[in-house]
């Protein structure tokens, strides 16, 4: 745990908290981007270059843009008057804590069950490619199929209906 880790952790958590607590929805989206960037830097801190850069490319380059587009194209950017907490915030908190504890338990268990690698493995992009198209090719294909069907669905939703003036 280097000091850099703590700086990045504070950045990520602060971004996440700001995304929940800020009033303006676009500010929330931008704060979420800060959290994404913090996560990417954490990956880079662990020497996981590919995952870190892919995180920036996909989450900051695509997901954040999608979020702000969705905000602007739907409800506008008006700030709510009644505060940012919905009435069911306590239920949400309980569910979030439950999910977090299950995930944390799983991670801690895996650290004990799995054999510890003696040295830090140096994973290159080449290794990731070989693993993706070798051992993990079936999950990759399933994800590809899922994404293709989602794309086709999006196109069908966006298409003009026949017989109606455009």
């Amino acid at each position: 745990m280097s000091p850099i880790f703590y700086v990045l952790a504070v950045l990520t958590v602060a971004g996440g908290l700001a995304a929940v607590l800020l009033k303006n929805t676009v500010h929330c989206a931008l704060a979420l981007t800060v959290a994404f960037a913090g996560l990417a830097l954490l990956f880079l801190n662990l020497d996981a270059q590919f995952v870190g850069f892919a995180q920036i490319l996909i989450y900051i380059g695509a997901v954040a843009i999608l979020v702000v587009f969705a905000i602007l194209l739907t409800r506008g950017t008006e700030t709510p008057q009644a505060g940012v907490f919905s009435r069911s915030w306590f239920v949400g908190l309980v569910i979030a804590a439950g999910v977090f504890s299950v995930l944390g338990w799983a991670v801690l268990q895996s650290a004990r069950v799995l054999p510890q690698p003696s040295a830090i493995p140096s994973v290159t992009v080449h290794d990731i490619g070989v693993a993706l198209l070798g051992r993990y090719v079936l999950p990759l294909e399933i994800v590809a199929l899922l994404l293709t069907s989602a794309t086709i669905g999006a196109v069908i939703v966006a298409m003009h209906e026949k017989g109606r003036p455009q």
Partner: protein, 401 residues
């Protein structure tokens, strides 16, 4: 600009490695534990000085070149032949009042130009600008470059949204929609190069193109798939940098100046700088991927230093950008989107298949014929089908007759 052992000390090698040797000499005054960090700092200073300097020169050349194309002089008052015009412009934008709209979101309005320039500068970190001249030789360098260029989209959005101005917001939406649409073919063309070179590391991609047949180089542009990829890359790169004919986000006849309408003074200068730096970096990546990076165009020209070739190629590509700006009219929004999704994207996907075919057909002339026939045939077919649907006829005017 990592140091490498220089075996021979002939004059071309010393000139070729001049900057690397100079950096090593400067660093050698420091204690050994400081040297790596000091080397990185020196490289960053070099990048931060060289590219804005090129930007200043380019603005003069662009205005003079456009002036020549439009039968006028261009800037010719400040200094000899108007070459000190960027200095005057820089002083002007530094001393101008920084106007922030009353309703603007002050923090985001302030952060937008900064994040834009910072992310654009980051892209230069992985560009190999000469033999042994790369700041960070990352294993996933290409991915790093494109993740940084994807991050600029958000700062464009921040600029447009925080200004609280209809024109700014429309310009930002246009810019982001255009950048996302053309980012897909841009990334897919680079995938073709990665498939052949077998690496995401930019110095390795340059090394893969460094051979010569006779005197002619093994650049990827001289293969059927490489030429097709390069053309698509050039189109998509023009759209990514919002340059004419893809400058709809700044279409002055429709939306004033797009996302930087409400920026003045030095913040506007930063947007201007960011646009030109993005041009340099995307040209640099195009040169690295398709035009052999820093390698010489003919084998006997290798005595000329490698950094000279890199910067020459980048400046030629900048010249083409300026040339197109002086030549082509602006696209319409629907043309822009139709072109991206209905022509460029399918063609790029096909080109990926052709690249795979090229990779597995092995050496020989057969793969040249097969891949050329597929690419040209599909290009002609798609063009014909697209034209057939359009029903081009005599132009009709609604109001002008």
């Amino acid at each position: 600009m990592l140091a490498a052992p220089v075996s021979t000390h002939s004059v071309p090698v010393i000139v070729d490695q001049a900057f690397v040797l100079f950096k090593d000499w400067l660093v050698s005054f420091l204690p050994p534990s400081w040297r790596p960090a000091a080397g990185v700092v020196l490289c960053v200073i070099a990048i931060v000085c060289v590219f804005p300097g090129l930007f200043a020169l380019t603005t003069v050349f662009e205005r003079k070149g456009l002036g020549r194309m439009q039968n006028r002089y261009g800037p010719n008052r400040v200094g000899p032949y108007g070459f000190f015009q960027p200095v005057a412009d820089g002083i002007k934008s530094l001393t101008k009042e920084d106007v922030v709209p009353l309703n603007a979101d002050v923090v985001v309005h302030f952060l937008a130009p900064l994040t834009l320039v910072v992310t654009v500068f980051m892209g230069f970190a992985v560009l190999p600008m000469g033999r042994n001249m790369v700041l960070a030789n990352l294993d996933a360098g290409l991915l790093f470059f494109f993740s940084m260029s994807a991050a600029t989209e958000l700062s464009v959005f921040m600029a447009g949204w925080s200004s609280r101005n209809k024109y700014s917001l429309l310009g930002a939406m246009r810019a982001v929609a255009q950048m996302i649409s053309y980012e897909v073919p841009l990334l897919l063309t680079t995938v073709a190069v990665v498939m052949i070179a077998g690496s995401l590391s930019l110095p390795k991609i340059v090394a893969a193109q460094s051979g010569y047949t006779g005197v002619f180089p093994h650049w990827y542009i001289f293969t059927p798939w490489g030429l097709a990829s390069f053309l698509v890359f050039a189109i998509a790169a023009t759209a990514e940098t919002n340059r004419s004919p893809f400058d709809l986000p700044e279409g002055e006849s429709e939306i004033v100046a797009g996302y930087h309408t409400e920026y003045s003074g030095f913040k506007f200068a930063l947007f201007f700088l960011g646009e030109y730096l993005a041009m340099f970096s995307i040209s640099g990546i195009g040169v690295t991927l398709f035009l052999g990076g820093w390698s010489a165009p003919l084998s006997f020209l290798n005595v000329v230093p490698s950094w000279f070739w890199f910067f020459s190629k980048v400046m030629v590509s900048i010249f083409v950008f300026i040339w197109m700006r002086g030549t082509l009219p602006r696209l319409r929004q629907d043309q822009l989107m139709n072109f991206a999704w209905k022509f460029v994207l399918p063609f790029t996907l096909l080109n990926l298949g052709v690249t795979a075919l090229w990779r597995f057909m092995g050496e020989g002339w057969a793969r040249w014929v097969v891949s050329s026939v597929i690419l040209v045939g599909v290009y002609v077919f798609m063009g014909r089908v697209g034209m057939f649907k359009k029903h081009f006829g005599p132009r009709s005017y609604r109001y002008a007759e």
